[in-house]
Symmetry: C2
Subunit: 200 residues, 2 copies
C-alpha cells in the first residue's frame, strides 16, 4: 500500500532520473566524455560544501544552497541544456522553455512540496539572495575547472576568447568574491598554455 | 595568486571528478546505461530532500544527511564499487580498501576540512545517528526504484530472489520506517511482474 502522497513523490524521483541523459558542453576530466546534468549537479554540491567559506557570508544557509544546486538543472529534462556560449535565439527562448518545464516537473510532487521546490528554484533563478548568488558562482567556477583540466574543451568548441569567459565568470564577484583571484589566475594560466585565446 | 588552502580544495574537487567514471550495477531508467556513482549520489540527494519526512525524525539534520550523501561514495574512486550482491571475498576486503581511499582522498583537503569531511564519512559508515541511518535507507531505496523501473536489471544479473532483496532493504526499518510499506508493495509488484524471483 502506497499513499497518494508518496506515490507522487516517487513519480517525481523516477521522472528526474532523466537528468542523467541531458548532456552539457563540458567534458569530464578523467574520461573526456561529455558531462551530464546529474553528475554536474553532484559536482556542484561537492564544490559548494568545499568552497562555502569563499561566499564571504558567515550566515550563508548552506542547506538552501544545496537544495538549489540539487534542483537547479532539472528543468533541462524538458527544456534541454542551453549552452553557455550559444546563440541569441536559443537564449531568447530559454526562460519560457524553463518555466514550462518547472510547471510540469515540480507539479508532479504533492502540492506543498511542489510549491516549496518551485520557490527554491525561483529563488535560484532570481539571483537576489546570498544563497542564490553563491550557487550561481559555483555553477560558473566548476565548468572553469573542467575547461582548465581539459585544455579548454568547450572554449575551443565555441571558439570563445578571454573576454567572453571573464564575462561568464561575472557572478563570482557577487556570489563568491573569495574565488575571484583564483579564477583570474586560472584564466591567465589557460591563456599562457594556449587553451584560451587572449583576444575576444 | 591562489592560496595554498584554496589550491588544496581545488585539487580535491578536480580529483573527485573521477567519481563520474565509477560504474554501478544498476541501470538508469531512461537510457538503460549503467549508472555512475556521481549521478547516483545526485539522485540520492534529490531523494533525500523529497523523502525526508519518512525518516520519522522531526529533528533530522538534513544538511548533515546531504553532506553524507554527497561524500558517501567518493572512496570508490580508489576502492571501486563493491556490488550489493557480490561475493564474500570482495565484501571482506571492502572495509580496508575504503579506509585507505578515505585517508588519501580526504587527505587532499586542508587539515581542518579533511578532518570534518572524514568525520562525516565515518558517521555515515557507523550508522549510529538518525542522519546516517536515513542516508543509508535512501541509498537502498533509490536502487530499488531503478530495479523496479528496469525490470529488475541488477537482480537478474546477480540472480537474486526476494529474500536477499528484503535483507538488502533492512536499513529502511531504522532509517526510513515510513518507506517500509511502499518498499514491500514495490517488491510484491516486481514479483508479480516477473522482475524478481519469489524463491530465495
Amino acid at each position: 500500500m502506497i499513499s497518494e502522497r508518496l506515490e507522487r513523490q516517487i513519480r517525481f524521483i523516477v521522472e528526474v532520473d532523466a537528468l542523467k541523459d541531458v548532456f552539457r558542453q563540458t567534458q569530464n576530466i578523467r574520461s573526456r566524455r561529455m558531462e551530464n546534468d546529474a553528475e554536474h549537479s553532484w559536482h556542484l554540491c561537492l564544490a559548494a560544501i568545499v568552497l562555502a567559506e569563499y561566499a564571504g557570508q558567515p550566515q550563508l544557509d548552506l542547506l538552501k544552497v544545496l537544495r538549489m544546486v540539487i534542483l537547479h538543472d532539472v528543468v533541462e529534462i524538458d527544456a534541454g541544456d542551453t549552452p553557455a556560449y550559444s546563440d541569441a535565439a536559443q537564449i531568447a527562448t530559454q526562460h519560457d522553455r524553463e518555466q514550462r518545464a518547472a510547471d510540469r516537473l515540480f507539479g508532479l510532487l504533492p502540492e506543498d512540496q511542489a510549491r516549496s521546490f518551485r520557490a527554491i528554484w525561483d529563488e535560484f533563478e532570481e539571483k537576489r539572495t546570498a544563497e542564490a548568488r553563491f550557487a550561481h558562482a559555483v555553477d560558473r567556477f566548476q565548468p572553469l575547472l573542467l575547461n582548465w583540466k581539459t585544455e579548454g574543451h568547450s572554449w575551443r568548441k565555441f571558439d570563445v576568447g578571454k573576454d567572453r569567459v571573464f564575462k561568464r565568470m561575472a557572478p563570482l564577484s557577487d556570489g563568491a568574491p573569495g574565488l575571484v583571484e583564483a579564477m583570474q589566475a586560472i584564466i591567465e594560466e589557460c591563456i599562457a598554455k594556449g587553451y584560451l585565446r587572449r583576444a575576444g
